[in-house]
Amino acid sequence: MDIQLIPLDEFAKQFGASTPRRQFLFDQARLVISLLRATGQVKRVFVFGSFVSEKPNPNDVDFFVVMAEGFTTSHLKGKIAEVFQNEACRIRYGVDLFWVTEAIGESHILDMREVFSRDRRQQHQPILEIKI
């Protein structure tokens, strides 16, 4: 399954500008990406769901994040720690964040990319990778 790799500024133009709701969610998503980058161990960020559809007012932003092997949340505090706790991240930033580390193995990461390429009605939905 080929996935488009998109720079953050292009992602902003395509999906984060057309409506106030999209502008708000993109700003929140950018904050989450900056917190992920602050760990120094983020490897890949996939985005899927309604935010990368044509829906003018998506509910949230769905991220599937792959961290480096050996990454752990045990020493994280504050806002960075919140990003790795799904409920806190969803409430604070409107980002529904699924994460894992590379330790799980590439085949499982590919499986989840495939799962996230379909919505809950089993219809195909776009999935993109943001260039980190």
Binding site: T73, S74, F98, T101, I104, G105, H108, R121
Partner: protein, 66 residues
């Protein structure tokens, strides 16, 4: 909502993939990290299983009539 057998099989396959993913994550991550990462996948599994159960609790003739 699942509408036909093809979608049913796809949903079952996705649930199995998520189960295997979590089994592997449980082996390869610390207890704290696993607890933090597993929650949204478990919710996805629960939602898709609910859809499977709803489909399997209804006869296809009833869906056509509806």
């Amino acid at each position: 909502m699942i509408l036909d057998d093809e979608q049913l099989h796809q949903a079952q396959s996705d649930v199995q993939k998520m189960w295997r993913f979590l089994e592997a994550a449980r082996r390869t991550h610390s207890a704290l990290d696993y607890e933090r990462l597993a929650a949204p996948y478990l919710l996805q599994i629960q939602q898709r299983q609910q859809q499977i159960l709803e489909f399997l609790s209804t006869k296809s003739e009833e869906l056509v009539i509806a």
